[in-house]
Structures are given as structure tokens and as C-alpha cells.
Symmetry: C2
Subunit: 341 residues, 2 copies
DNA sequence: TTATTTTATGACAGCGCTACCATAAAACGC
DNA sequence: GCGTTTTATGGTAGCGCTGTCATAAAATAA
């Protein structure tokens, strides 16, 4: 016995068949108008569009996706939303997708590759057109799915490694390295590092290692370091610097893993009457607006988060097919001299 | 002539039929195991799960969605991602969805109801289980779809109005009102307002009006105000205060639409040697961490962004059916006395 | 003119899954 | 022991759309 049409649906939403009937054309022709595919006579198009407007027709993307074995969804997997960095990336992605049919589906991994894998698999159930992830480090299972899937893949932020398809970002190792060179050149010798405890933030680790390398080459090293438990925040930066200076008051410069924490460092200095730059240099990473709006602009490195997201999404929608060649796009970085180091 | 199975697909992904065949059960039984529905014998479940693992089966959500006329997608429409406020809301939403099957699809409206309408319609094509929007003000078309759709609806941030289904947030009018009362009580008399030009930020407007009302009741009024062109930012706050004080140096307190801009105001004072609180009170809105990490914590109002997102998403997934009664949840706010006003 | 290409449209099956109904076997009530 | 409920499973149709192939009409070429 056939199930009553739309038996479990209410109210009865108009379908493409309703549109076709009203416009006096076949379903497939109506479909072509909706998708703007193939040759359609102007008069036909008009009739169909009128019918669509009249019925308030909304296409069913699940049906379309099933029939065509593909969707216009773009899976975006970000490590975190707490820091403005990833919302900035997301803004860039969104900006590239604004006037396209693509829609971002987002997941948050908490910097955990296993969570990333779990969310990735659940996203793949939607047959996304593309997947965006942060970093080049994934679980073997995730990597396997990324490599064999029929979708484009972009790995963001970092470019030190071998991407699946497209990588867009900068060399964090080099950023750390240049931070060290810059500060040594400015005369700083007694280096401290005030970080946080999320060890899986691969980018922060890469910058840290780059910093150590350049110090080593200059015959120097980190005299003291402290990692505050928990995630990165302004408060954590403030506390971290306080503890660091308590243990080792002789430092003349402290590098932070990002601007938020560096701002906290500056606040600690303001509170404790430590003359920033003269007595203690403070250096961050990211080049956030707020740091540059301070009376004493933060010395930091500008990362181009928005551009990274924008570029990645634009590249992804260029072609449905994954090309033979892998693409690596270096968005670079700039040292912002600022007034704090 | 029948189309070759999976003709336009490569490689051939395993389907539920493959799983069922390998496990020696019917498709529907395999489907029940995947979805954890109905009574299944333990031995059967095990066989099916083994088959799933062996084949690396990933369910096709488009097919599932089509067959069941519903999805596990949650459409999230936010005005902006530039300010940390909406990422905070998104974190809350995400947090509520973490161990559920729901997945957020996000769109950014730029505070424009027409863009909101356009994105909403494109999201409805996925038959979402729920829709989350900011504010209670939408286009008539959007409102109509929200009211007649077979999905739950949550309108976030503001509760001053008539929601479609669920509203979660606080009264921004009241927050503005309390801001005025608080500052008058602390002895401030010569009020200024340093805002930005995005007139469609309904919440900021509501707070502004609440502030004006309480000042009026106290026999006072805004002596001067300035709105910096463009969106809210720390830099805009700094510039806005500078212009405001240039036009009216006699102010003893300035209210900002949010903490970002208020921080900019403080930076202007630091730069110009104006003693904050003694010479000029500064008041913000949101209670961002960074403002509280300053040596002189920002006087502001704590809005509970994370909680708003979390509560809304939790409420939405409680039931698929929209209840008769509308729900309004007031997450409230707190005045943070701080040290700047 | 006639042959060929281009333009415009349609018939139809099937994408992979789940709602609906049916059924058989096991457990339970009295 | 016999009817009733519960548990476990399956057959089948169809969700709404689009890929494939076919076809007719119009435009172009020879």
C-alpha cells in the first residue's frame, strides 16, 4: 500500500513538481531554471520564476544533494572560538562565500585531533563540497578520509608541512625565528617566555621553537619561561608574567604566544609600575586592533587571519576537482615595531 | 535504460545496503542500529557495528534527511563575527550541541534584515531542526517563514518584544536604564555618549534609549554625543571620545555602546593624560575579560553571551515540536562597578 | 535545398535512506 | 494453557530532486 504523499509532513510544502505544473513545464526544466543550468528560453524562465514566487517555493537541498551526489556545504573545523583569531578566519571564509551558493558548517575541535576526526566524519555525511581545517596535523583516519574524499581540502594557518590539497597560511616557525632576531637586534638579551598550557596549539609551539632557534644562533637562550594552566587569555597573560618575573626578575624582554596574553603582560607592568620597553620589552603575536589602539602600541607580528580564510575559500571554490599539484599559499607576516619592545 | 549504479560517483562509497548485506540483516535493521532506534538484539547490533567499521561506512545524511523530512542541522544567523560577542554566543551554542547529533550552520547578516532573510531562506532548503537568530526584528517575509516552519526558533540577545517561539537574552533597554541610574547615583552629571554609526544594531540603540530615559527621569540629559562612522572597534572608541571631548570638554562621564569602544576611550585618556574616573568616567557594556584584566578594571555591564547561546541551544533540542506557549528566558545582567566610573 | 549543429525541452529512473505496516517469536498475565 | 503484550525484524514505497538519454525545433553551413 503506497504511503500517502507527504503523510508525515505538514504543512505541505510546494515541491518542484508543483512549480513545474503551475508554470506548464516539466520538472527538469523547472530544475534547470532554479539552478541556472543549460539553455532556457527567456519566456520559459519567466514563467517558472513567477510560479516559484507565487508558491513561495524553497528547493529541498537534501533531495538535490542526494540526486547529484554533492552539496554546497563547506565544512569548517576550527580549534577554538574563544580567541578572535578564528572568528577572523571565519569572517574571511564567509566573505568569500557571500555571493556563492556555498554555506559553511562549522565545528570546534578544542585543539584535539580526535575531536577533529569525530566532527570531520560527521560532516562528511553531508557530502560537503570542501573541507577547511586548521593546521597540517590530523589523525591517520582523518588524513585518510581527507585524501580519498571527493571534495576539496584546505588546511589553514600553517604552511610548514605537506598539505592534502591546499595550504594557506604562514610559517609560524619563521615568525618565531624573526621575533628572536628582531628583539636581539634591538638589544634585548635576557629573554623570557610567558605562555599557556594548551600544548596542542601547534602554531604556538612552532613559534616557540623558531624563537629558541634564533636565540641559539645569537648565542642566547630563554632564561626563564612559564606556562599558565588553561587556555590563552588576557588574564592568563597577566598572571603568567607576574609568576615569571617573580621567579626571574632580571629579564629584559618577554615574548608571549599572542597579543591577548601580551596585553595582559602590559597590564601587569602598568599595575606594578614596570616601565614597558625601557625596563621590560613585551612582544606578542597576531597584530590585533586593540593592541594597536593602545597609547603604546603593542610590538607584535601581524598575521593575516581574514586573508587566510578568504584566500582559502576562494581557492576551494575555483574548481570542484582536486588538481594534481598541491597548492601552498604563503600569506606572510609583518613585524609591527610598536612601542613595547 | 537504467542508469549504472553510482555512475557519476567515484569511488563507490559503501551504502547502508552494503552494511546490511555484510551483516546479514535487512537495510532497515542496519538503519536502526545506526540511528539507535527501536529494539535491537545485542548480537544483531554487534554484527552491524562490525560491518560498519569494516566497510568504513559513513551514513548519507542527505538521503536520511530526504526520507525523514528533517535534518539535524541548526541554522545560526549572527549579525557579525568581528566583535567577540557573537563568537561567544556561538561557543555557547556549540557547547550545547557537542554531544548531540546537531550541527550548526552559520550565516552572517551584517546587521541587515534583508541579508538575514536571504540567508534564512537558503538555510531552510536544508530543512533545519532549528533556527537561531539575533534579535526580534526581522523582515515580514522572514517572520512569516519563521512562524510557519516546522522547526524550532530561538531569537537571542534581546527579550523586549514578541518572539516567534523562544527568546533568550536580556532587556537592553533596562541595561541602558540601569547604566544611567548607576552613574547618576555615583555623582556623575555631565553625560556624553560615544558610539558608532551602525544604526541597525538594535541592542545598542535600545541601551541608548534606556540611558536617555533614566537621565531624563533624573532631570538630566546627554550633553553631547558623537557617532564614529563605521563599525564598532577600539580604535573607533578612541577616536570617538577624542572628537566628543573636542566638542564638549566639560563632560564628567562618557558611556560607550560596548567594552571595545570603552577600552578605546580609556586609551585616549591615557594618551591625553586625562585621569579616568576622577576627571572622566568611562562606562562600557559586555564585561569582556580584557577590560577586567586591566589594572583599572572597566566599569561595565556583564552580559552573558555564552549562557545565552548555551541556553538557547539546550531549549531548542528539548523538543522537536513547537509548544503552544512562547518561552522567554531572561539571562539578566550585572553591573560591574570596576574602577573607571 | 539538404545536412549538420545548436537550442530548448522532456521522460524516466534512481540517488540512499526511513516511515509505515506487517509478522513472527518470545515473554507475560491470569 | 490461551490470549495479550512486548521484542525483534523485514518488505516496500517513496521522499524531491537531478543525471542520462532522447527528441523536436530552430539556426547555420554547405
Amino acid at each position: 500500500m503506497p504511503r500517502k504523499r507527504n503523510a508525515h509532513r505538514s504543512p505541505d510544502l510546494p515541491t518542484l513538481a508543483d512549480v513545474a505544473r503551475l508554470a506548464g513545464v516539466s520538472e527538469i526544466t523547472a530544475s534547470r531554471v532554479v539552478r541556472d543550468r543549460g539553455p532556457i528560453a527567456d519566456s520559459t524562465r519567466t514563467r517558472v520564476l513567477t510560479a516559484i514566487a507565487e508558491l513561495g517555493y524553497i528547493p529541498n537541498r537534501a533531495a538535490g544533494s542526494l540526486a547529484s551526489a554533492g552539496s554546497t556545504l563547506m565544512s569548517v573545523l576550527l580549534p577554538s572560538l574563544s580567541n578572535i583569531v578564528f572568528p577572523d578566519v571565519l569572517r574571511g571564509i564567509h566573505s568569500a562565500l557571500t555571493h556563492t551558493a556555498y554555506q559553511p558548517v562549522i565545528g570546534v575541535t578544542d585543539y584535539d585531533p580526535l575531536i577533529e576526526e569525530r566532527i570531520l566524519l560527521s560532516f562528511l555525511a553531508w557530502q560537503p563540497a570542501a573541507v577547511i581545517l586548521a593546521g597540517l596535523h590530523h589523525t591517520p583516519t582523518a588524513r585518510r578520509h581527507l585524501e580519498h574524499g571527493r571534495f576539496r581540502v584546505a588546511e589553514l594557518m600553517d604552511i610548514d608541512g605537506d598539505p592534502v590539497d591546499i595550504a594557506v597560511g604562514m610559517s609560524h616557525r619563521q615568525a618565531g625565528y624573526e621575533t628572536g632576531r628582531h628583539l636581539v637586534q634591538r638589544g634585548y638579551r635576557r629573554f623570557g617566555y610567558a605562555g599557556h598550557s594548551v600544548a596542542t596549539d601547534d602554531r604556538a609551539s612552532a613559534r616557540y621553537e623558531g624563537l629558541c632557534t634564533s636565540l641559539r644562533e645569537a648565542g642566547l637562550s630563554l632564561i626563564a619561561e612559564h606556562r599558565q594552566p588553561g587556555p590563552s587569555s588576557t588574564k592568563a597573560g597577566r598572571e603568567s608574567l607576574e609568576i615569571l618575573l617573580g621567579a626571574e626578575p632580571s629579564l629584559d624582554v618577554v615574548v608571549f604566544p599572542n597579543d591577548d596574553m601580551a596585553m595582559g603582560g602590559i597590564f601587569h607592568c602598568m599595575h606594578s609600575g614596570i616601565a614597558v620597553r625601557e625596563k621590560l620589552g613585551i612582544f606578542g603575536f597576531n597584530g590585533l586592533d586593540i593592541g594597536q589602539a593602545m597609547p603604546m602600541p603593542l610590538s607584535t607580528i601581524l598575521s593575516r587571519r581574514f586573508l587566510i580564510g578568504l584566500t582559502a575559500a576562494e581557492k576551494l571554490i575555483e574548481s570542484r576537482e582536486r588538481p594534481q599539484e598541491k597548492t601552498i599559499i604563503n600569506t606572510g607576516f609583518d613585524i609591527i615595531e610598536g612601542a613595547t619592545a
